[in-house]
Subunit: 332 residues, 2 copies
DNA sequence: CTGAAAGCGCTAACAT
DNA sequence: ATGTTAGCGCTTTCAG
């Protein structure tokens, strides 16, 4: 098993351990012939370097620490981890995953664990887009779905642009009375989307109408919000909804009220949760939050920083693609 | 930073590195006074042992490898990882997470990575309950939501019992014409639940009626299955549905057919996906697949094995708790 | 109760 | 092009 060491290979190949190391890593100068012989012997013996020893010597573990505040409740988490995982694997690195359950004390302690494990860089992901204070860490640090100012690299959705695009999608389809259903809790997501919606409506010479109910942003919230919206403006023909679960709630209220989607009411969501958006009837047109891509980018960024490239922090806002399905009626 | 080493602490405390090691780990015999002084100095200096060095020396990394076939698509994954994560953290261990995207080649390679990282034990989780062939690994290996015979430890839901309990729930509520909606793909989940359903109906002197449509088991499948079921037996009053997404589809067909839930049709699902079960209207009565618990158990099991306890493999079938909400009409 | 010495398995300098 | 010598930072015998 993991038993065979570099010395065994060296002995079997009739060279020194140093040469084996050089041959296998491609570092020093080794004759092509020796290199291939060593490689073959290593393969035959099933040799794989002990990464712990390598890490101790090189002072580089090739392990990335991944901290998240809440890895379970949403399927988002999985996609971020997956993207990070894939990028890490492609770069020859591995992820050490840890989560804080939204408890700052636990978080600090978990970061401590990662530090003791000598991870080369830290990824810090939050399940809801928000501003955070970053943990102290000496190596590269990159935030996912969070931001902390220009001094630290981060990637998150462009919420304002999301509001603009979603509203424009409905306007372009010929709708004029477009309402925005959201929650009244503070947050980068709700605020950015509301602003984008508002500016777009105003820009089109239309009165914005935002209906915000108490959180969390789930189906219940969507039900209540649409009830309020319809009561206030029975002639609304389209709703831009904060997220997919709320859109699901809007569907429920629409059904109760006898409003057909999309004939009587067009609906646009945000998230593109496979479990919801594609399963609703009619399938929901929504904007995809690119979690997988964010995870990928973050790792790539961290690895480049470790390699001495990209020395400046970079803050990126990523635009979300629309996923057109069947919940928008085109009236043009 | 991670700069301060054991020698720094030793110097500052006026003792040898050996004594610091002993004092901090509680291993050797150290006077209470020395111990507390060392502890204080270590704390003041912000010292934390370099786990890489420790691991190399002790030949124990205190890191667990977590392999999953598909960590993203379902929210299941997150809960398994979370449970594993919590248990690991409680045991002073860390998780190294890797995923294979259902590709055997990638899987083998990822296991190799974990082995090179010298993980102490391997957890192997699959997103759908199935039988697997286990990767070669020299340490403790435990399967989550998968099984591989009595020789390897594993934990998975008791599917048969699930079928029995779900059916009984409906029978106990006074229903007689209970249909089972499922898919026609092979799998431990569908087969076990069908068997449990069938035996329970037969045991009650009632004719089983299972309607299986093509997979995957999503809302579309649920819609089709309920259509078929109603066509075959318009008098059915209750449906035990394979999973929550299919139950969501059944809701959609019921709405289209003018069947009210639960007055005209009672529905029971399986999964307890927060995103669906709690959000449906009426909220779905379902059986919870205990992913968090399975992740926890697996880690606990692996750690005990590492500690020399539990030397025999153990295969556990875990019974799933019912989560009563509003989709079952009680007619007794 | 404390410390000196000897590595864990590997790779980076530095010869040769 | 290859080998020798030193450690990486820690924990363990084993002496004192």
């Amino acid at each position: 098993m993991g038993r065979v060491g570099i010395r065994d290979v060296a002995r079997a190949a009739g060279v020194s351990a140093t040469t084996v190391s050089h041959a296998l890593s491609g570092q020093g100068k080794v004759s092509a012939e020796t290199r291939s012989r060593v490689a073959r012997v290593a393969r035959d013996l099933g040799y794989a370097p002990n990464r712990v020893a390598t890490a101790l010597r090189r002072r580089r573990t090739d392990v990335l620490g991944f901290v998240s505040d809440e890895i379970a409740t949403t399927p988002f988490a999985g996609r971020i981890v997956l993207g990070a995982q894939d990028a890490a694997s492609a770069a020859g690195m591995t992820l050490m995953v840890v989560n804080s359950n939204r408890d700052p004390g636990v978080e600090a302690q978990q970061v401590e664990v990662l530090r003791a494990q000598q991870v080369d860089a830290l990824l810090y992901a939050t399940m809801f887009h928000r501003r955070v204070t970053v943990p102290a860490f000496s190596g590269p640090l990159v935030l996912v779905n969070a931001e902390a100012g220009p001094a630290v690299s981060s990637i998150a959705p462009d919420e304002y642009r999301l509001g603009v695009d979603a509203t424009r999608l409905l306007l372009d389809a010929g709708h004029r009375r477009v309402v925005h259903l959201t929650i009244d809790e503070p947050g980068l997501g709700v605020e950015g989307r509301v602003a984008g919606y508002r500016d777009t409506m105003l820009g089109a010479g239309l009165p914005p109408h935002v209906v915000a109910v108490g959180g969390p942003a789930d189906a219940r919230a969507g039900r209540e919000a649409l009830e309020l919206a319809v009561a206030a403006d029975p002639d609304a023909t389209a709703a831009f909804v904060f997220n997919d679960p709320m859109a699901m709630g809007a569907y429920q209220t629409a059904a109760r009220l006898g409003l057909r989607i999309p004939q009587d009411l067009s609906v646009v969501g945000v998230d593109d949760l496979e479990l919801i958006a594609a399963q609703l009837l009619p399938a929901l047109t929504t904007f995809q939050l690119p979690h997988y891509e964010m995870g990928r980018w973050a790792v790539t960024r961290a690895v480049r920083a470790l390699d001495g490239l990209d020395t400046q922090p970079e803050v990126v806002s990523i635009v979300c693609a629309e996923v057109v399905r069947e919940s928008v009626d085109v009236r043009v």
